[in-house]
Amino acid sequence: MWRFLAESGAVFAKDLRTEFRTRVALNALGLFAVTTLAAVSYTIGPYRIAENDRPFLLAALLWIVIFFAAMAGLDRTFVKEEDTHTAPLLRLSADPLVVWAGKLLFNFVLLGVLIAILVPLYMVLMGFRVDSTAGFLLVLGAGGYTLAVTTTMVAAIIARAMSRGALFSVLSLPLLLPLLIFLIQGTRAAVEGSAEGVSEALRAVVSLGGVMTVVSVVLFPVVWNE
């Protein structure tokens, strides 16, 4: 167990270090998020939505911005390994599950950084206020994890294919749409301060994330070693 953690930590640290030196993924994610946020904020702004519609529409827009950004950058870790021809050596050196855990952690942290920057900006620009902060943070955390675990798996698949750019979003979106629906509902409930609504949505998200985690643990080695 400790060995597993140490080895996946090494993969994570390696990715983090190369990311710090190039910032490819973070730039892709961040710029995408900021651009969509600017577009959304300019065209819709804080006051153009009727008071009644705000919780739902602002929750939906927030998650759409996050998903857009995720589609732009979360495949980088795997695609880069293939593009720079480092994947075969990693494949021969590391245990597949170690790679999976390291990459998942990396994507999760990347999303976390993105969310940490994006959400305050969104609150300022869109006049987005949340009644239940704890509930909102939980939804963000569980949603970020489930998003990361799903995209990690899809990224591993598309990294071995040709013409990957479009393929990543084409393959991810059908898998992510249920998650998107639940996250929007959970966020809306958090905005309105409905603890019950938050916990319902959280259970759905956790259930989805749990299923994806189990399936990934079984299937990632198959994809990675192919």
Binding site: A50, N52, D53, Q185, E196, G197, S199, E200, A201, R203, A204, V206, S207, L208, G210, V211, V214, V215, V217, V218
Partner: protein, 138 residues
């Protein structure tokens, strides 16, 4: 590390059980409270944009053709009623509706609907049989 194949089978079994457990955990949450509808009472209290669902009370429909104003009464499962006002053309199959969803807000003593969704009787029954039994639904 006795027999890798046996071991793998055990892991797959654990995985399967976990997936079922997660799905069951999620399913309870979907069933209990993910519907978008609120009770009549809550609609009256909040005054916000909400969706209410209920049955049409027979004979309560009033429609002014010139002004295109429709008013009717909805009843929920507990027997509560709600007066609904709707500005717009009356949906074609409105009288036959068994269930109605009204989207709007409650103010000035009535529910002002901006949109109506009408569910038709979904009984796959012959025309002649059903006409004899209309109105006696559970």
């Amino acid at each position: 590390m006795t027999d890798p194949r046996k071991q793998r089978r055990i892991w797959y079994a654990i995985g399967g059980v976990l997936i079922v457990a997660f799905l069951a955990y999620g399913a309870t949450s979907f069933k209990s409270n993910l519907t978008p509808y609120v009770s009549f009472h809550e609609a009256e209290q909040s005054g916000k944009q909400v969706q209410v669902a209920g049955a049409l009370v027979n004979g309560s429909t009033r429609y002014v053709d010139a002004a295109k104003e429709l008013s009717f009464t909805m009843a929920d499962a507990e027997g509560g009623t709600l007066q609904v006002l709707y500005k717009g053309v009356k949906p074609g199959n409105f009288e036959e509706a068994t269930q109605i969803v009204a989207i709007g807000s409650f103010h000035n003593g009535a529910f002002h609907a901006e949109q109506l969704l009408v569910k038709c009787p979904s009984k796959y029954q012959g025309l002649e049989e059903a006409s004899g039994k209309s109105g006696s639904r559970t």
